[in-house]
């Protein structure tokens, strides 16, 4: 999928691994943790929505379920705040997957645009449930056990666990792309009925993809809850999360492997930075809105595809000036 060489992936991994050791300022490492969480979520979202073309705007359902799993289990089990809580992260992912099965079964009964609307509607159902149930603590939310780590150490474990989620989501996404299952998702994106007529069990394949993508998003939600230490229904079941994740994937490159990673990296870090610099939590919403419009209008395939197209054009122009023969040769291919 991506033309990046293995050495570049390794280099990127090394940079991410040593980043918090060099930049120790907690302000920046906090931004980094949020950025990694979004990179993981966007990659995971793209693994289903990007490959199958079914744009889900309900991913916050799984983020919220993951966050509440972390909060409820760690408070009810009277856990002491600390490393042990990390064991709840995969559990939260599993809970998100279990939730994804009925959600997907309902939403995937319809196609394309209707699917988008249904995911939004189901998302609001979950948000309302979280606000109104008593076991979720209602609008007051839940306080998690306090983690007694030192101020300049606190971010470090979160950073590496979040990095682990990003690596996991990326490997899973790459693996899916190489599998028969991934090919079936792409076939569904291009022509679902035709795929059905070629023996693809489209309903089962879509539901499996949808459920798998919930796993990492649920884990990210759990990590977020633990990191923040206090959750509110409107912040974990957050409609802007739904849209942000989709925007990041579209911005970076919908359906590509590298795109969602870049989208998450660029947009989340700049959003956090803007919020911090201008101490205004709403400024980024305006900027993101404008950006979303620009991306959809001018580079709907995202920066990864656009940049590689420009790069290919530039190389072609430099290497072989267009001769009539070359033009004719290109024409043959079509």
């Amino acid at each position: 999928m991506s033309k990046l060489k293995p050495s570049l992936w390794t280099l990127a991994l090394v940079v991410f691994a040593i980043f918090p050791l060099i930049v120790t300022n907690p302000t920046f490492t906090t931004i980094a943790v949020f950025t990694l969480l979004f990179m993981a979520c966007t990659t995971s979202w793209n693994m289903f929505s990007g490959y199958s073309g079914y744009v889900s705007l309900g991913s916050a359902i799984f983020y919220g379920c993951g966050a509440y799993t972390m909060a409820l289990v760690s408070t009810h089990a009277h856990m002491a705040g600390g490393e042990a809580q990390f064991w709840l992260v995969p559990l939260a992912g599993l809970v998100a997957m279990v939730v994804a099965i009925p959600v997907g079964a309902v939403a995937l009964r319809v196609r394309r645009h209707t699917f988008v609307v249904i995911t939004i509607a189901l998302f609001f159902v979950f948000q309302l449930l979280a606000i109104n149930f008593s076991f979720t603590g209602g609008a007051a939310g839940i306080s998690l056990p306090l983690i007694p780590w030192l101020f300049n150490y606190y971010n470090l474990p979160f950073y590496y666990v979040a990095l682990g989620l990003v690596i996991f989501a990326t490997l899973l996404s790459a693996g899916v792309r190489r599998s028969r299952f991934g090919l079936q998702l792409l076939a569904i994106r291009d022509d679902e009925d035709r795929a059905l007529g070629l023996g693809v069990r489209v309903t089962a394949v879509k539901l499996t993809g949808f459920t798998m993508s919930a796993f990492t998003i649920g884990m990210a939600g759990a990590l977020y809850a633990m990191f923040i230490g206090q959750i509110y229904p409107q912040f974990v079941f957050d409609p802007t999360f739904d849209i942000t994740v989709a925007l990041m994937a579209f911005f970076g490159g919908f359906g590509t492997l590298l795109g969602p990673l870049l989208g998450g990296l660029i947009l989340e870090s700049s959003q956090q930075y803007l919020t911090l610099t201008f101490t205004n939590g709403s400024l980024y919403l305006i900027l993101f809105g404008v950006l979303f419009l620009l991306v959809i209008l001018f580079m709907p395939q995202g920066i990864v595809v656009r940049v590689s197209q420009l790069w290919a054009q530039r190389n072609r122009r430099r290497e072989t000036p267009l001769t009539p023969d070359a033009v004719a040769a290109m024409g043959v291919g079509h």
Binding site: Q184, L186, A187, D190, D193
Partner: protein, 258 residues
């Protein structure tokens, strides 16, 4: 003759339009059966019913003696009925070879797809062999969306063939295709038929139908009107009525279109 695929007394209405009215059709094993009729006579609807895309209101579909009436399209394909569409449908944003691979395992459990790679060596070889058969082997790594209309028709035929179905339903294989390619396609069909494949072909091009079909069924207003050899059908007064039908202008146009 052994009956391979059979529609018995099938009816289907869309709202107030009765697209099929107790229509019956038999495809014998090893035959090339033609299905002709004026536009709107229900040929494509019958195709859709036989391949599971549309459920009949009434009637039975039998494949190899088994009732497959309400089976979904993937099930019917897995049993061995492949089809192409009138408006050619390929997967345009994946490569030509990947198009082929979608169909290679026609009856594999969906969980298996998660743990295996896109293709095995033997599947890839089979896919390349069929691409070579239709003359697209050199375009294997191209994005399928960049193929021309005729190449898409050939690709659609190739990826139906790669799953090795017993019977292949072709919806207007010669529609919108130039003469050279029409001859090429009919040669391929005849070659495959010699190899044991059964065909059911919807086509408006009479020359094409008369040349390659063993048996032709004519449909008219949702019913099967006449079934017989091409020569019988050509001389049947009922068929002439259906197509040329006295003063009915629309029917005349249909023949002109063919």
């Amino acid at each position: 003759m052994v009956k391979l695929l059979e529609a018995q007394d099938v009816s289907r209405a869309f709202g107030g339009v009765q697209a099929l009215k107790s229509c019956s059709l038999t495809v014998d094993k090893g035959s090339i059966t033609g299905l002709i009729g004026p536009n709107g006579s229900g040929k494509t609807t019958l195709f859709n019913v036989m391949t599971g895309y549309v459920r009949p209101d009434h009637g039975t579909i039998l494949f190899d003696g088994n009732d497959v009436t309400n089976a979904p399209p993937n099930k019917i394909f897995a049993l061995g009925v492949g089809r192409t569409f009138q408006l050619t449908r390929i997967f345009s944003r994946i490569s030509v070879i990947e198009n082929m691979l979608v169909a290679t395992q026609r009856d594999e459990s969906w969980l298996r797809g998660l743990t295996r790679s896109k293709s095995s060596r033997s599947e890839l070889d089979a896919a390349m062999e069929w691409l070579d058969f239709v003359g697209l082997a050199r375009l294997a790594s191209l994005q399928a969306g960049s193929l021309s209309f005729g190449q898409r028709k050939l690709l659609e035929l190739a990826y139906v063939l790669v799953a090795d179905p017993d019977v292949i339903l072709l919806d207007e294989p010669a529609g919108g295709v130039n003469l050279t390619l029409i001859n090429e396609i009919s040669e391929k069909i005849l070659a495959l038929n010699k190899g044991g494949k059964t065909f059911l072909i919807v086509e408006h091009n009479m020359e094409f139908v008369m040349k390659i079909c063993d048996k032709v069924t004519v449909m008219y207003q949702g019913c099967d009107l006449v079934t017989g050899t091409p020569a019988e059908v050509r001389s049947s007064p009922q068929v002439l009525d259906a197509y040329l039908g006295g003063s009915d202008d629309e029917s005349n146009q249909v023949v002109g279109h063919g």
